[in-house]
Subunit: 404 residues, 2 copies
């Protein structure tokens, strides 16, 4: 697998663009993005589990019900959620793509990210669409990545090449998250494209299995948004034999997909609102995988642990505390904890009790930008990794500011 | 029911004291407290659900297994948790009470609050115990309240008088929490005394039922500590007919107990680490009580909602978001949200969608010290209240500081 340039346009047959159409007041910020495949593509999506769902999610579900799609349109600055006319507006956005780009509205995936509960007008989108479509290009992935940003500090894109049955394939993605721009925005959106040929059902199978260990193991603030969505388009233009069942090719595709999703987990957590550090919690020795995941997620979500990491404080008692209330079956007397980073690694807890360590050394380890918390449960073979970030003044500032 | 002075010494037959014995470095801070009843008292306790439990909790469980106790000893500055010799030290504290105050060690409730995973020496406790016992007095509740403080900004005590079968009874309490002093401390401790006569089993029944709607509905940071404990001593010195079964007296006792516990819920949440505001989330119209509690707790725990309240931002989308991911059965299209405080009340959401409101008016309502979030689910008769506080820079500062 090789890292390549081009983001969502790295796979064959995709063009993209992002423009400022006027949803956001700041004219230097792009707020409308479009990705179009030359041909209809197999499509798979996963959505937020929040009962309050953004209108675009409801519309997208209908549009990909047949397993295919050809374009993705997404605006930032407004989540189009909790609005009485939300679905109508989301359908309107797809209609505008049909009018201007010639892709059937029913083949458009639509997404919105921004403030919840403020009416979204179709006017700026209608005004911006012709330029958006006219500017579609194979170099447009970066512009599209910009158009979906909210509090993200950098546009995010990635692409890899890989091989299926001797054919070179490519997989790329843009995404945004995690956080809220002006308060009320909490959406993670990831759009993945590939030129691999794979049936819709196998594509969905690959994505659904993947998110359990990737996106579902990320937490910035424990708040599950109303608009989260990950979608994959697979247009088959690489010319490989279509994947229609499990086997070597499906495994290779899943590996490539996981390479992309794991990249995003780290990227999203590390760019979490106000974050100064990426935290990676690796649990081993759990009774089973479910227990490992529960423990890893509990630690990565603990406000106290997150604040300690911000302070570069080797406060392992908080790790034990979060393990203890996670609900997972754990023998506390077998727990070990180590902190690790580029600066080295340090053991702080064995057998559930503290062991002597150098505070100076620990501070050095924890002052790095990427910290691993290694937890051993000594109770089986279950393993899991969760990603998160530290809790900082900046998080409070970003989310305590007035919307107005 | 009448509010009275005297805290844990307001009921007949109790003395208390608090001293500085040297566990904490700061000599102006008391770190050891004792409450003693003249006679053995019915005793009931509830403990943290964290699998990692402080050693004092394990020892206390043994000591109150017979339903009786006569004294409560508690230190601050060290949680005596995750220490290999923890139980031995906790037993040692009880032994010191026996030696100096003549109360059998097996009748002592012991508690500790402070840093997790640092060895606790018995030496300062042995040194301080004679003066602690010598100073026991009916005016000592305030000193005892000081001796158990960690990051609390004020010592906390309360007392009420009430009537059981024509006899005047009293109930009082001291407590601490919620938070961490230097990082690693997360303990809520509440010690309740009463001179009402009630059997141990009915006392435990009253306490266990009460906490489900009181303490279990409080959250400052979502981190369940390893040392939480609420204990009640009932020494019967008021002379009422002993309560041994459900009925009018038991109901009156439960009401008095609930008056005290609800006071603590508000007090603890309002003094949560770094908090500038007490948040009270009142849910009505839920399918059932369990659903109401789940929704109230989900909203009160949301970091995004808490940060919005810090910013006095009427960010109701975050309330909807937290309702949506709570896991409770909710018909989103029926949800209403209002914010209320001394400055007035303001409706912001009806039928799951936003309604026009004055941002200026909302800011006025949310700039008060005590905020109510009123949620209507329009789906039944289930009601619940949860208490919490805002998320502030100060919370991050308190918990990001180095222990060292």
């Amino acid at each position: 697998m090789k890292k390549i340039q081009g983001g969502v346009c790295a796979p064959l047959g995709y063009k993209a663009n992002g423009v400022h159409c006027g949803i956001r007041k700041n004219k230097t910020k792009r707020d409308l993005s479009l990705i179009v495949s030359e041909v209809r593509a197999a499509a798979a999506c996963v959505y937020t589990q929040n009962l309050v769902k953004g209108a675009p999610i409801l519309v997208t579900k209908k549009h990909v019900a047949d397993g295919y799609a050809q374009a993705i349109v997404c605006n930032s600055g407004n989540a189009n959620t909790c609005n009485a006319d939300g679905e109508q507006i989301a359908e309107g956005m797809c209609g505008l793509v049909q009018e201007n780009a010639g892709v059937a509205a029913g083949d458009v995936i639509v997404a919105s990210t921004g403030v919840i509960g403020q009416p979204l007008s179709l006017d700026p989108i209608a005004e911006g669409m012709p330029a958006l479509v006219a500017g579609l290009s194979q170099d447009g992935s970066g512009l599209a990545a910009q158009g979906i940003m909210t509090t993200d500090t950098i546009p995010k894109e990635i692409a890899y090449s890989f091989t299926l049955g001797g054919k070179e394939c490519r997989i790329g993605a843009i995404g945004k998250g995690v956080g809220m721009i002006n308060p009320n925005m909490a959406t993670m959106l990831i759009f993945v494209t590939t030129d691999a040929a794979i049936s819709p059902s196998m594509l969905q199978k690959a994505l659904s299995a993947d998110v359990k260990d990737s996106f579902n193991m990320v937490s910035v603030d424990g708040d599950t948004s109303t608009n989260d969505m990950v979608s994959v388009l697979a247009n088959g233009m690489a010319g490989n034999a279509v994947i229609t069942e499990s086997g070597k090719d499906f495994a290779a595709f899943r590996k490539a997909l996981n390479k992309v999703t794991t990249y995003w987990c780290r990227k999203i957590a590390g760019d979490g609102e106000g974050a100064t550090k990426l935290l990676e919690c690796k649990v081993a020795g759990a009774k089973n995988k479910a227990a490992a995941k529960t423990v890893a997620k509990s630690v990565i979500k603990s406000s106290l642990f997150k604040a300690a990491m911000f302070g570069a404080d080797a406060n392992w008692g908080r790790v034990l505390c979060a393990i203890g209330y996670s609900g997972a079956p754990v023998d506390v007397t077998k727990v070990s904890v180590d902190f690790k980073s580029r600066a080295g690694s340090i053991a702080v807890c064995r057998g559930g009790s503290g062991i002597p360590f150098s505070e100076e050394e620990a501070k050095k380890v924890l002052s790095e930008k990427e910290i691993e918390v290694l937890i051993g449960l000594g109770d089986g073979n279950g393993k899991a990794t969760a990603w998160g970030c530290d809790l900082t003044y900046e998080y409070v500032k970003i989310n305590g500011d007035y919307r107005t």
